[in-house]
Protein backbone atom coordinates (compact mmCIF):
# COMPACT_ATOMS: atom_id res chain seq x y z
CA UNK A 1 0.00 0.00 0.00
CA UNK A 2 2.72 2.37 1.12
CA UNK A 3 4.95 1.33 -1.74
CA UNK A 4 2.13 1.89 -4.15
CA UNK A 5 1.52 5.38 -2.80
CA UNK A 6 5.21 6.25 -3.06
CA UNK A 7 5.24 5.05 -6.62
CA UNK A 8 2.29 7.22 -7.62
CA UNK A 9 3.94 10.15 -5.99
CA UNK A 10 7.13 9.52 -7.95
CA UNK A 11 5.11 9.32 -11.14
CA UNK A 12 3.44 12.59 -10.33
CA UNK A 13 6.70 14.41 -9.79
CA UNK A 14 8.04 12.87 -13.00
CA UNK A 15 5.04 14.30 -14.79
CA UNK A 16 5.88 17.75 -13.55
CA UNK A 17 9.51 17.95 -14.58
CA UNK A 18 10.44 17.21 -18.15
CA UNK A 19 14.17 17.46 -17.67
CA UNK A 20 16.30 16.84 -14.65
CA UNK A 21 20.06 17.18 -14.65
CA UNK A 22 21.68 15.76 -11.56
CA UNK A 23 25.13 16.85 -10.57
CA UNK A 24 26.83 16.22 -13.91
CA UNK A 25 30.49 16.52 -14.63
CA UNK A 26 31.71 16.88 -18.22
CA UNK A 27 35.23 16.28 -19.42
CA UNK A 28 36.52 17.09 -22.89
CA UNK A 29 39.32 15.11 -24.47
CA UNK A 30 39.72 13.11 -21.24
CA UNK A 31 41.45 16.01 -19.51
CA UNK A 32 39.55 19.28 -19.61
CA UNK A 33 36.98 19.50 -16.84
CA UNK A 34 34.26 21.86 -18.03
CA UNK A 35 31.24 21.18 -15.83
CA UNK A 36 31.90 20.57 -12.17
CA UNK A 37 28.62 19.28 -10.90
CA UNK A 38 25.71 21.05 -12.55
CA UNK A 39 22.15 20.32 -11.50
CA UNK A 40 19.00 21.82 -12.85
CA UNK A 41 15.41 20.96 -13.61
CA UNK A 42 13.00 22.15 -16.24
CA UNK A 43 9.31 21.84 -15.39
CA UNK A 44 6.94 20.65 -18.06
CA UNK A 45 5.77 23.68 -20.01
CA UNK A 46 8.36 25.99 -18.46
CA UNK A 47 10.93 28.35 -19.88
CA UNK A 48 14.16 28.07 -17.97
CA UNK A 49 17.13 30.33 -18.63
CA UNK A 50 20.71 29.25 -18.18
CA UNK A 51 22.80 32.37 -17.80
CA UNK A 52 26.45 33.11 -17.54
CA UNK A 53 29.45 34.61 -19.26
CA UNK A 54 31.46 33.19 -22.12
CA UNK A 55 32.98 29.84 -21.30
CA UNK A 56 30.86 29.28 -18.22
CA UNK A 57 29.60 25.97 -19.60
CA UNK A 58 26.15 26.87 -20.92
CA UNK A 59 26.62 25.28 -24.33
CA UNK A 60 28.27 22.24 -22.79
CA UNK A 61 25.29 21.75 -20.48
CA UNK A 62 22.87 21.89 -23.41
CA UNK A 63 24.98 19.51 -25.46
CA UNK A 64 25.16 17.10 -22.57
CA UNK A 65 21.36 17.08 -22.51
CA UNK A 66 21.00 16.56 -26.26
CA UNK A 67 23.83 14.04 -26.17
CA UNK A 68 25.82 15.84 -28.86
CA UNK A 69 28.96 15.96 -26.74
CA UNK A 70 30.50 12.81 -28.09
CA UNK A 71 30.82 14.44 -31.51
CA UNK A 72 33.21 16.87 -29.84
CA UNK A 73 35.06 14.34 -27.74
CA UNK A 74 33.31 15.36 -24.58
CA UNK A 75 31.71 12.98 -22.14
CA UNK A 76 29.56 13.06 -19.06
CA UNK A 77 31.67 11.37 -16.42
CA UNK A 78 29.47 11.80 -13.35
CA UNK A 79 25.86 12.42 -12.58
CA UNK A 80 22.83 11.69 -14.66
CA UNK A 81 20.36 13.36 -16.97
CA UNK A 82 16.75 12.34 -17.31
CA UNK A 83 14.48 13.55 -20.06
CA UNK A 84 10.83 12.68 -19.70
CA UNK A 85 11.69 9.65 -17.60
CA UNK A 86 14.45 8.30 -19.86
CA UNK A 87 18.13 8.20 -19.10
CA UNK A 88 19.63 10.49 -21.75
CA UNK A 89 23.09 8.95 -21.80
CA UNK A 90 21.66 5.69 -23.09
CA UNK A 91 19.98 7.33 -26.10
CA UNK A 92 21.50 8.46 -29.38
CA UNK A 93 20.83 12.05 -30.50
CA UNK A 94 18.55 10.53 -33.10
CA UNK A 95 16.49 8.72 -30.44
CA UNK A 96 16.32 11.83 -28.32
CA UNK A 97 14.93 13.92 -31.15
CA UNK A 98 12.38 11.19 -31.76
CA UNK A 99 11.34 11.39 -28.10
CA UNK A 100 10.92 15.13 -28.32
CA UNK A 101 14.16 16.73 -27.15
CA UNK A 102 15.88 18.81 -29.81
CA UNK A 103 18.63 21.38 -29.73
CA UNK A 104 18.92 24.61 -31.69
CA UNK A 105 22.63 25.19 -31.77
CA UNK A 106 24.51 28.37 -31.13
CA UNK A 107 25.20 30.20 -34.36
CA UNK A 108 22.07 28.84 -36.07
CA UNK A 109 23.77 26.12 -38.11
CA UNK A 110 21.33 26.13 -40.99
CA UNK A 111 22.18 23.93 -43.94
CA UNK A 112 23.61 26.67 -46.16
CA UNK A 113 23.11 25.05 -49.53
CA UNK A 114 19.58 23.86 -48.84
CA UNK A 115 16.62 26.15 -49.31
CA UNK A 116 14.76 27.43 -46.25
CA UNK A 117 11.92 25.00 -46.91
CA UNK A 118 14.32 22.07 -47.30
CA UNK A 119 15.96 23.11 -44.05
CA UNK A 120 12.61 22.99 -42.31
CA UNK A 121 11.84 19.61 -43.83
CA UNK A 122 15.08 18.10 -42.52
CA UNK A 123 13.68 18.85 -39.08
CA UNK A 124 10.99 16.26 -39.76
CA UNK A 125 13.60 13.59 -40.47
CA UNK A 126 12.76 11.47 -37.45
CA UNK A 127 9.00 11.62 -37.93
CA UNK A 128 7.01 8.65 -39.07
CA UNK A 129 3.55 10.18 -39.18
CA UNK A 130 3.36 10.79 -42.88
CA UNK A 131 3.52 13.49 -45.49
CA UNK A 132 0.27 15.26 -44.67
CA UNK A 133 1.15 15.82 -41.01
CA UNK A 134 4.57 17.18 -41.98
CA UNK A 135 2.96 19.56 -44.48
CA UNK A 136 0.54 20.75 -41.83
CA UNK A 137 3.39 21.52 -39.46
CA UNK A 138 5.23 23.32 -42.23
CA UNK A 139 2.20 25.59 -42.48
CA UNK A 140 2.26 26.03 -38.71
CA UNK A 141 5.92 27.10 -38.81
CA UNK A 142 5.14 29.55 -41.62
CA UNK A 143 2.35 31.01 -39.51
CA UNK A 144 4.74 31.66 -36.63
CA UNK A 145 7.46 32.91 -38.96
CA UNK A 146 5.79 34.62 -41.92
CA UNK A 147 9.18 35.82 -43.06
CA UNK A 148 10.29 32.26 -43.70
CA UNK A 149 7.37 31.75 -46.06
CA UNK A 150 8.62 34.66 -48.17
CA UNK A 151 12.12 33.21 -48.27
CA UNK A 152 11.12 29.56 -48.60
CA UNK A 153 12.96 29.06 -51.91
CA UNK A 154 16.13 30.96 -50.99
CA UNK A 155 19.30 29.12 -50.11
CA UNK A 156 19.60 29.40 -46.34
CA UNK A 157 23.22 30.51 -46.61
CA UNK A 158 22.13 33.70 -48.30
CA UNK A 159 19.46 34.73 -45.78
CA UNK A 160 19.97 37.19 -42.94
CA UNK A 161 21.02 36.26 -39.42
CA UNK A 162 17.52 36.75 -38.07
CA UNK A 163 16.00 34.62 -40.81
CA UNK A 164 18.54 31.92 -40.12
CA UNK A 165 17.69 31.96 -36.43
CA UNK A 166 14.01 31.65 -37.30
CA UNK A 167 14.85 28.87 -39.72
CA UNK A 168 16.78 27.02 -37.03
CA UNK A 169 13.93 27.32 -34.53
CA UNK A 170 11.37 26.41 -37.19
CA UNK A 171 13.45 23.39 -38.16
CA UNK A 172 13.46 22.24 -34.55
CA UNK A 173 9.68 22.74 -34.36
CA UNK A 174 9.23 20.43 -37.34
CA UNK A 175 10.31 17.50 -35.17
CA UNK A 176 7.25 17.99 -32.93
CA UNK A 177 9.40 18.57 -29.85
CA UNK A 178 8.34 18.50 -26.21
CA UNK A 179 11.38 20.52 -25.31
CA UNK A 180 13.72 22.77 -27.26
CA UNK A 181 17.25 23.49 -26.06
CA UNK A 182 17.88 26.96 -27.39
CA UNK A 183 21.49 28.11 -27.42
CA UNK A 184 22.16 31.86 -27.66
CA UNK A 185 19.21 32.80 -29.84
CA UNK A 186 20.12 36.48 -29.49
CA UNK A 187 23.66 36.11 -30.80
CA UNK A 188 24.49 38.72 -33.40
CA UNK A 189 20.94 39.96 -33.80
CA UNK A 190 19.53 43.47 -33.58
CA UNK A 191 17.73 44.15 -30.27
CA UNK A 192 14.36 44.44 -31.95
CA UNK A 193 14.83 41.09 -33.68
CA UNK A 194 15.86 39.54 -30.38
CA UNK A 195 12.58 40.65 -28.81
CA UNK A 196 10.70 39.30 -31.83
CA UNK A 197 12.33 35.91 -31.50
CA UNK A 198 11.74 35.70 -27.76
CA UNK A 199 8.14 36.74 -28.29
CA UNK A 200 7.73 33.76 -30.61
CA UNK A 201 9.41 31.52 -28.06
CA UNK A 202 6.81 32.63 -25.53
CA UNK A 203 3.99 31.95 -27.98
CA UNK A 204 5.32 28.49 -28.78
CA UNK A 205 5.51 27.82 -25.08
CA UNK A 206 1.93 29.05 -24.60
CA UNK A 207 0.17 27.53 -27.56
CA UNK A 208 2.20 24.48 -28.48
CA UNK A 209 3.19 23.60 -24.93
CA UNK A 210 6.88 23.34 -25.79
CA UNK A 211 9.25 23.59 -22.82
CA UNK A 212 12.42 25.60 -23.29
CA UNK A 213 15.85 25.50 -21.77
CA UNK A 214 17.66 28.50 -23.13
CA UNK A 215 21.25 29.46 -22.73
CA UNK A 216 21.77 33.19 -22.97
CA UNK A 217 24.34 35.88 -22.36
CA UNK A 218 21.67 38.49 -22.79
CA UNK A 219 20.51 38.19 -19.20
CA UNK A 220 18.10 41.07 -19.46
CA UNK A 221 15.94 39.62 -22.21
CA UNK A 222 16.27 36.05 -21.00
CA UNK A 223 14.99 36.87 -17.52
CA UNK A 224 12.13 38.83 -19.01
CA UNK A 225 10.76 35.78 -20.81
CA UNK A 226 11.90 32.92 -18.58
CA UNK A 227 10.10 31.69 -15.51
CA UNK A 228 13.18 30.43 -13.72
CA UNK A 229 16.88 31.04 -14.10
CA UNK A 230 20.20 29.44 -13.24
CA UNK A 231 23.48 31.32 -13.26
CA UNK A 232 26.50 29.36 -14.27
CA UNK A 233 30.06 30.35 -13.51
CA UNK A 234 33.12 28.30 -14.45
CA UNK A 235 31.17 25.09 -14.66
CA UNK A 236 29.15 25.55 -11.49
CA UNK A 237 25.68 26.82 -10.77
CA UNK A 238 26.27 29.73 -8.42
CA UNK A 239 22.77 31.10 -8.14
CA UNK A 240 19.29 30.10 -9.10
CA UNK A 241 15.79 31.30 -8.51
CA UNK A 242 12.61 32.63 -10.02
CA UNK A 243 13.27 34.94 -12.92
CA UNK A 244 11.69 37.76 -11.01
CA UNK A 245 13.83 37.21 -7.94
CA UNK A 246 16.97 37.07 -10.07
CA UNK A 247 16.05 40.31 -11.77
CA UNK A 248 15.81 41.97 -8.36
CA UNK A 249 19.02 40.46 -7.02
CA UNK A 250 21.64 43.17 -6.48
CA UNK A 251 24.57 41.08 -7.60
CA UNK A 252 22.85 39.89 -10.74
CA UNK A 253 22.00 43.48 -11.50
CA UNK A 254 25.57 44.49 -10.96
CA UNK A 255 27.30 41.81 -12.96
CA UNK A 256 24.85 40.62 -15.56
CA UNK A 257 22.34 43.39 -16.08
CA UNK A 258 24.83 46.23 -15.83
CA UNK A 259 22.62 48.37 -13.63
CA UNK A 260 24.49 48.54 -10.33
CA UNK A 261 22.64 50.16 -7.44
CA UNK A 262 24.98 52.39 -5.46
CA UNK A 263 27.87 53.55 -7.63
CA UNK A 264 30.92 51.43 -8.27
CA UNK A 265 31.39 48.44 -6.05
CA UNK A 266 34.45 46.40 -5.46
CA UNK A 267 34.48 42.70 -6.17
CA UNK A 268 35.83 42.25 -2.66
CA UNK A 269 32.54 43.17 -1.09
CA UNK A 270 30.47 40.87 -3.23
CA UNK A 271 28.93 37.96 -1.53
CA UNK A 272 30.54 34.77 -2.68
CA UNK A 273 27.96 32.33 -3.88
CA UNK A 274 28.74 28.83 -2.91
CA UNK A 275 27.36 26.01 -4.95
CA UNK A 276 24.45 24.58 -3.11
CA UNK A 277 24.95 20.92 -2.60
CA UNK A 278 22.43 18.96 -4.57
CA UNK A 279 21.85 15.34 -3.90
CA UNK A 280 20.57 12.78 -6.29
CA UNK A 281 16.93 12.24 -5.68
Amino acid sequence: MNVHAAKTEANDSAAETILSVNNIEVIYDHVILVLKGVSLTVPKGGIVALLGANGAGKTTTLKAVSNLLSAERGEVTKGSIHFDGDEVQALSPNELVRRGCIQVMEGRHCFGHLSIEENLLTGAYTRRDGHAAVRADLEMVYTYFPRLRERRQSQAGYTSGGEQQMCAIGRALMSRPKMILLDEPSMGLAPQLVEEIFEIVRQLNDKEGVSFLLAEQNTNVALKYATYGYILESGRIVLDGDAKALRENEDVKEFYLGVGGEGRRSFRNVKHYKRRKRWLA
Binding site: S66, L68, S70, A71, E72, R73, S92, P93, N94, L96, V97, R98, I102, Q103, V104, M105, H109, C110, F111, G112, H113, L114, E118, N119, L121, T122, G123, A124, Y125, T126, Q155, G157, Y158, G161, R171, A172, S175
Partner: protein
Protein backbone atom coordinates in the same frame (compact mmCIF):
# COMPACT_ATOMS: atom_id res chain seq x y z
CA UNK B 1 57.92 22.53 -86.26
CA UNK B 2 55.83 25.16 -84.49
CA UNK B 3 53.35 24.92 -87.29
CA UNK B 4 53.18 21.16 -86.89
CA UNK B 5 52.43 21.45 -83.17
CA UNK B 6 50.29 24.54 -82.94
CA UNK B 7 48.35 24.74 -86.19
CA UNK B 8 48.42 21.52 -88.13
CA UNK B 9 46.37 19.42 -85.63
CA UNK B 10 43.51 21.91 -85.87
CA UNK B 11 43.72 21.92 -89.64
CA UNK B 12 43.37 18.14 -89.55
CA UNK B 13 40.38 18.32 -87.24
CA UNK B 14 38.59 20.51 -89.71
CA UNK B 15 39.80 18.64 -92.77
CA UNK B 16 38.67 15.21 -91.58
CA UNK B 17 35.61 16.02 -89.44
CA UNK B 18 34.22 12.48 -89.35
CA UNK B 19 37.40 11.18 -87.75
CA UNK B 20 37.35 14.08 -85.31
CA UNK B 21 33.78 13.13 -84.38
CA UNK B 22 34.88 9.54 -83.82
CA UNK B 23 37.62 10.75 -81.48
CA UNK B 24 35.18 12.90 -79.54
CA UNK B 25 32.68 10.03 -79.21
CA UNK B 26 35.30 7.65 -77.86
CA UNK B 27 36.55 10.29 -75.48
CA UNK B 28 32.98 10.97 -74.40
CA UNK B 29 32.32 7.32 -73.58
CA UNK B 30 35.34 7.00 -71.33
CA UNK B 31 34.59 10.43 -69.94
CA UNK B 32 31.13 9.32 -68.88
CA UNK B 33 32.68 6.45 -66.96
CA UNK B 34 35.23 8.71 -65.27
CA UNK B 35 32.34 10.91 -64.31
CA UNK B 36 30.52 7.95 -62.75
CA UNK B 37 33.52 6.97 -60.65
CA UNK B 38 34.11 10.58 -59.62
CA UNK B 39 30.48 10.73 -58.56
CA UNK B 40 31.08 7.86 -56.18
CA UNK B 41 33.97 9.78 -54.63
CA UNK B 42 31.95 12.99 -54.38
CA UNK B 43 28.99 11.36 -52.62
CA UNK B 44 31.11 9.75 -49.96
CA UNK B 45 33.24 12.82 -49.52
CA UNK B 46 30.27 15.13 -49.17
CA UNK B 47 28.52 13.08 -46.57
CA UNK B 48 31.48 12.01 -44.47
CA UNK B 49 34.54 14.06 -45.48
CA UNK B 50 36.25 10.83 -46.32
CA UNK B 51 38.29 10.55 -49.46
CA UNK B 52 37.38 7.02 -50.38
CA UNK B 53 40.45 5.41 -51.84
CA UNK B 54 38.53 2.14 -52.18
CA UNK B 55 36.16 3.43 -54.86
CA UNK B 56 38.34 1.94 -57.62
CA UNK B 57 38.59 -1.47 -56.07
CA UNK B 58 34.85 -1.47 -55.47
CA UNK B 59 34.46 -1.31 -59.25
CA UNK B 60 36.64 -4.38 -59.65
CA UNK B 61 35.08 -6.18 -56.72
CA UNK B 62 31.52 -5.68 -57.92
CA UNK B 63 32.37 -6.79 -61.46
CA UNK B 64 34.23 -9.83 -60.10
CA UNK B 65 31.30 -10.72 -57.88
CA UNK B 66 28.89 -10.50 -60.79
CA UNK B 67 31.01 -12.63 -63.08
CA UNK B 68 31.88 -15.00 -60.26
CA UNK B 69 28.26 -15.55 -59.27
CA UNK B 70 27.37 -16.19 -62.90
CA UNK B 71 30.14 -18.74 -63.28
CA UNK B 72 28.70 -20.56 -60.27
CA UNK B 73 25.66 -21.20 -62.41
CA UNK B 74 23.41 -18.38 -61.28
CA UNK B 75 21.61 -16.79 -64.25
CA UNK B 76 22.60 -13.23 -65.06
CA UNK B 77 19.14 -11.94 -64.21
CA UNK B 78 19.54 -13.17 -60.63
CA UNK B 79 23.24 -12.41 -60.39
CA UNK B 80 22.72 -8.66 -60.65
CA UNK B 81 20.41 -8.30 -57.62
CA UNK B 82 22.63 -10.73 -55.72
CA UNK B 83 25.66 -8.57 -56.48
CA UNK B 84 23.72 -5.54 -55.30
CA UNK B 85 23.01 -7.42 -52.09
CA UNK B 86 26.72 -8.13 -51.70
CA UNK B 87 27.47 -4.42 -52.20
CA UNK B 88 24.88 -3.59 -49.55
CA UNK B 89 26.47 -6.01 -47.11
CA UNK B 90 29.82 -4.47 -47.91
CA UNK B 91 28.47 -0.98 -47.18
CA UNK B 92 27.05 -2.20 -43.88
CA UNK B 93 30.25 -3.85 -42.77
CA UNK B 94 32.35 -0.84 -43.77
CA UNK B 95 30.12 1.36 -41.66
CA UNK B 96 30.06 -1.01 -38.71
CA UNK B 97 33.66 -2.19 -38.69
CA UNK B 98 35.58 0.78 -40.07
CA UNK B 99 33.69 4.07 -39.95
CA UNK B 100 31.80 3.84 -36.68
CA UNK B 101 34.83 3.09 -34.50
CA UNK B 102 36.82 5.82 -36.24
CA UNK B 103 34.22 8.57 -36.08
CA UNK B 104 35.71 11.94 -35.04
CA UNK B 105 39.22 10.85 -35.89
CA UNK B 106 41.28 13.12 -38.14
CA UNK B 107 40.52 12.85 -41.85
CA UNK B 108 43.87 11.32 -42.64
CA UNK B 109 43.12 8.34 -40.40
CA UNK B 110 39.86 7.66 -42.21
CA UNK B 111 41.69 8.01 -45.51
CA UNK B 112 44.22 5.41 -44.35
CA UNK B 113 41.33 3.19 -43.33
CA UNK B 114 39.95 3.29 -46.88
CA UNK B 115 43.37 2.19 -48.15
CA UNK B 116 42.99 -0.69 -45.72
CA UNK B 117 39.58 -1.47 -47.21
CA UNK B 118 41.20 -1.44 -50.66
CA UNK B 119 43.84 -3.96 -49.68
CA UNK B 120 41.27 -6.13 -47.96
CA UNK B 121 39.01 -6.16 -51.02
CA UNK B 122 41.92 -7.07 -53.31
CA UNK B 123 42.85 -10.01 -51.11
CA UNK B 124 39.29 -11.09 -50.46
CA UNK B 125 38.36 -10.85 -54.14
CA UNK B 126 41.32 -12.96 -55.16
CA UNK B 127 40.62 -15.49 -52.47
CA UNK B 128 37.00 -16.00 -53.46
CA UNK B 129 37.02 -15.49 -57.20
CA UNK B 130 40.64 -16.11 -58.17
CA UNK B 131 43.13 -13.65 -59.60
CA UNK B 132 42.92 -14.48 -63.29
CA UNK B 133 41.31 -12.17 -65.82
CA UNK B 134 37.66 -12.77 -66.61
CA UNK B 135 35.27 -11.83 -69.35
CA UNK B 136 32.27 -9.70 -68.51
CA UNK B 137 29.00 -11.53 -69.13
CA UNK B 138 27.99 -8.92 -71.66
CA UNK B 139 25.60 -10.97 -73.77
CA UNK B 140 23.97 -12.72 -70.83
CA UNK B 141 23.12 -9.30 -69.43
CA UNK B 142 21.47 -8.43 -72.72
CA UNK B 143 23.96 -5.75 -73.71
CA UNK B 144 24.09 -5.64 -77.53
CA UNK B 145 27.56 -6.05 -78.96
CA UNK B 146 27.14 -4.96 -82.57
CA UNK B 147 28.08 -1.63 -84.07
CA UNK B 148 26.48 0.78 -86.41
CA UNK B 149 27.89 3.33 -88.74
CA UNK B 150 26.90 6.92 -89.16
CA UNK B 151 27.83 8.91 -92.19
CA UNK B 152 28.22 12.55 -91.30
CA UNK B 153 30.12 14.91 -93.62
CA UNK B 154 30.37 12.18 -96.24
CA UNK B 155 32.75 10.17 -94.06
CA UNK B 156 31.83 7.56 -91.49
CA UNK B 157 31.79 7.15 -87.74
CA UNK B 158 31.68 3.75 -86.10
CA UNK B 159 29.60 3.56 -82.95
CA UNK B 160 29.63 0.41 -80.87
CA UNK B 161 26.33 -0.54 -79.36
CA UNK B 162 27.85 -1.42 -76.01
CA UNK B 163 29.22 2.10 -75.80
CA UNK B 164 25.74 3.42 -76.43
CA UNK B 165 24.49 1.12 -73.67
CA UNK B 166 27.22 2.36 -71.37
CA UNK B 167 26.32 5.98 -71.93
CA UNK B 168 22.60 5.28 -71.56
CA UNK B 169 23.06 3.39 -68.31
CA UNK B 170 25.33 6.09 -66.96
CA UNK B 171 22.86 8.83 -67.82
CA UNK B 172 19.96 6.91 -66.27
CA UNK B 173 21.98 6.33 -63.12
CA UNK B 174 23.01 9.95 -62.82
CA UNK B 175 19.52 11.29 -63.46
CA UNK B 176 18.10 8.84 -60.95
CA UNK B 177 20.69 9.83 -58.40
CA UNK B 178 20.11 13.55 -58.88
CA UNK B 179 16.36 13.06 -58.51
CA UNK B 180 16.95 11.00 -55.40
CA UNK B 181 19.18 13.67 -53.87
CA UNK B 182 16.83 16.46 -54.80
CA UNK B 183 13.43 15.01 -54.05
CA UNK B 184 13.55 12.44 -51.30
CA UNK B 185 13.87 12.76 -47.57
CA UNK B 186 16.99 10.59 -47.52
CA UNK B 187 18.54 12.58 -50.36
CA UNK B 188 17.86 15.77 -48.45
CA UNK B 189 19.46 14.25 -45.37
CA UNK B 190 22.58 13.36 -47.38
CA UNK B 191 22.89 16.93 -48.61
CA UNK B 192 22.22 18.29 -45.14
CA UNK B 193 24.95 16.11 -43.71
CA UNK B 194 27.31 17.41 -46.38
CA UNK B 195 26.52 20.99 -45.37
CA UNK B 196 26.73 20.82 -41.61
CA UNK B 197 27.59 17.70 -39.70
CA UNK B 198 26.74 19.01 -36.25
CA UNK B 199 23.42 20.45 -37.31
CA UNK B 200 22.51 17.22 -39.05
CA UNK B 201 23.16 15.36 -35.82
CA UNK B 202 21.13 17.87 -33.87
CA UNK B 203 17.99 17.38 -35.96
CA UNK B 204 18.25 13.64 -35.46
CA UNK B 205 19.76 12.54 -38.75
CA UNK B 206 21.48 9.29 -37.97
CA UNK B 207 25.02 9.14 -39.27
CA UNK B 208 25.12 5.36 -39.51
CA UNK B 209 22.01 5.14 -41.67
CA UNK B 210 23.26 7.80 -44.07
CA UNK B 211 26.73 6.29 -44.28
CA UNK B 212 25.43 2.85 -45.12
CA UNK B 213 23.19 4.40 -47.74
CA UNK B 214 25.95 6.47 -49.29
CA UNK B 215 28.40 3.57 -49.42
CA UNK B 216 25.70 1.43 -50.96
CA UNK B 217 25.06 4.07 -53.64
CA UNK B 218 28.80 4.16 -54.27
CA UNK B 219 28.59 0.37 -54.60
CA UNK B 220 25.79 0.62 -57.16
CA UNK B 221 27.80 3.17 -59.12
CA UNK B 222 30.79 0.84 -58.91
CA UNK B 223 28.73 -2.06 -60.24
CA UNK B 224 27.43 -0.09 -63.23
CA UNK B 225 30.93 1.15 -63.98
CA UNK B 226 32.28 -2.37 -63.58
CA UNK B 227 29.74 -3.81 -66.00
CA UNK B 228 30.24 -1.30 -68.78
CA UNK B 229 33.99 -0.97 -68.39
CA UNK B 230 34.33 -4.73 -68.03
CA UNK B 231 32.41 -5.12 -71.28
CA UNK B 232 35.02 -2.99 -73.01
CA UNK B 233 38.22 -4.17 -71.36
CA UNK B 234 37.55 -7.41 -69.48
CA UNK B 235 37.39 -7.89 -65.73
CA UNK B 236 40.72 -7.83 -63.93
CA UNK B 237 42.36 -6.05 -61.04
CA UNK B 238 43.90 -3.70 -63.60
CA UNK B 239 40.45 -2.11 -63.81
CA UNK B 240 41.27 -0.41 -60.55
CA UNK B 241 43.59 1.89 -62.45
CA UNK B 242 40.74 3.63 -64.22
CA UNK B 243 39.55 4.76 -60.80
CA UNK B 244 42.69 6.83 -60.48
CA UNK B 245 41.56 8.66 -63.59
CA UNK B 246 38.85 10.01 -61.37
CA UNK B 247 41.47 11.95 -59.41
CA UNK B 248 42.13 14.62 -62.04
CA UNK B 249 38.39 14.70 -62.61
CA UNK B 250 37.92 15.49 -58.93
CA UNK B 251 40.63 18.13 -59.02
CA UNK B 252 38.84 19.71 -61.94
CA UNK B 253 35.34 19.34 -60.67
CA UNK B 254 35.99 19.90 -57.01
CA UNK B 255 35.45 17.18 -54.43
CA UNK B 256 32.05 18.45 -53.41
CA UNK B 257 30.27 19.11 -56.64
CA UNK B 258 28.04 16.54 -58.30
CA UNK B 259 27.75 18.54 -61.51
CA UNK B 260 31.50 19.18 -61.37
CA UNK B 261 32.15 15.45 -61.35
CA UNK B 262 29.93 14.93 -64.38
CA UNK B 263 31.20 17.81 -66.48
CA UNK B 264 34.79 17.29 -65.31
CA UNK B 265 34.67 13.60 -66.17
CA UNK B 266 33.36 14.15 -69.66
CA UNK B 267 35.79 17.01 -70.27
CA UNK B 268 38.77 14.92 -69.17
CA UNK B 269 37.63 11.97 -71.30
CA UNK B 270 37.30 14.02 -74.46
CA UNK B 271 40.40 16.15 -73.95
CA UNK B 272 42.69 13.23 -73.22
CA UNK B 273 41.50 11.47 -76.37
CA UNK B 274 41.95 14.52 -78.57
CA UNK B 275 45.38 15.17 -77.12
CA UNK B 276 46.39 11.56 -77.60
CA UNK B 277 45.32 11.39 -81.26
CA UNK B 278 46.44 14.80 -82.50
CA UNK B 279 49.47 15.48 -80.34
CA UNK B 280 50.40 12.40 -78.35
CA UNK B 281 50.78 9.90 -81.13
CA UNK B 282 52.51 12.12 -83.70
CA UNK B 283 54.89 13.90 -81.34
CA UNK B 284 55.19 12.09 -78.03
CA UNK B 285 55.15 8.43 -78.96
CA UNK B 286 51.58 7.82 -77.82
CA UNK B 287 50.15 6.55 -74.55
CA UNK B 288 49.67 10.06 -73.24
CA UNK B 289 46.26 9.25 -71.78
CA UNK B 290 47.90 7.94 -68.63
CA UNK B 291 49.40 11.27 -67.68
CA UNK B 292 47.68 14.00 -69.66
CA UNK B 293 44.66 14.38 -67.33
CA UNK B 294 46.92 14.94 -64.34
CA UNK B 295 49.00 17.63 -66.06
CA UNK B 296 45.83 19.25 -67.28
CA UNK B 297 44.28 19.22 -63.81
CA UNK B 298 47.46 20.67 -62.34
CA UNK B 299 47.36 23.54 -64.78
CA UNK B 300 43.73 24.24 -63.95
CA UNK B 301 44.44 24.17 -60.23
CA UNK B 302 47.16 26.77 -60.69
CA UNK B 303 44.49 29.23 -61.69
CA UNK B 304 41.41 27.94 -59.85
CA UNK B 305 42.37 26.27 -56.58
CA UNK B 306 38.79 25.22 -55.81
CA UNK B 307 38.58 23.37 -59.10
CA UNK B 308 36.42 24.38 -62.03
CA UNK B 309 33.15 23.74 -60.23
CA UNK B 310 34.18 23.60 -56.58
CA UNK B 311 31.27 24.44 -54.35
CA UNK B 312 31.14 28.15 -53.71
CA UNK B 313 31.71 28.76 -50.07
CA UNK B 314 28.84 30.81 -48.76
CA UNK B 315 30.16 33.21 -46.23
CA UNK B 316 28.28 35.99 -44.54
CA UNK B 317 30.25 39.01 -43.48
Amino acid sequence: MLYDVLIDPFVQMVAVPDFFLQVIWEGFVSGVLYALIALGFVLIYKSSRIFNFAQGIMVVFSALTLVGLHSMGIPAIAAVPLTLLVMYLLAMSVERVVLRPLVNQPDIILFMATIGITLFLIGFGELVFGGENKVMITEQLGIPTGAFELEPFGGFVLIEQKDVTAVTMAILLVVGLLLFLDRTKMGRAIRALGDDHQAALSVGISLSTIWVLVWFIAGVIALVTGIVWGARAGVSFALEVIAYKALPVLMLGGLESVSGAIVGGIAIGILEKIFEIYWGQPFLGGNTETWFPFIFALLVLLFRPQGLFGERIIERI
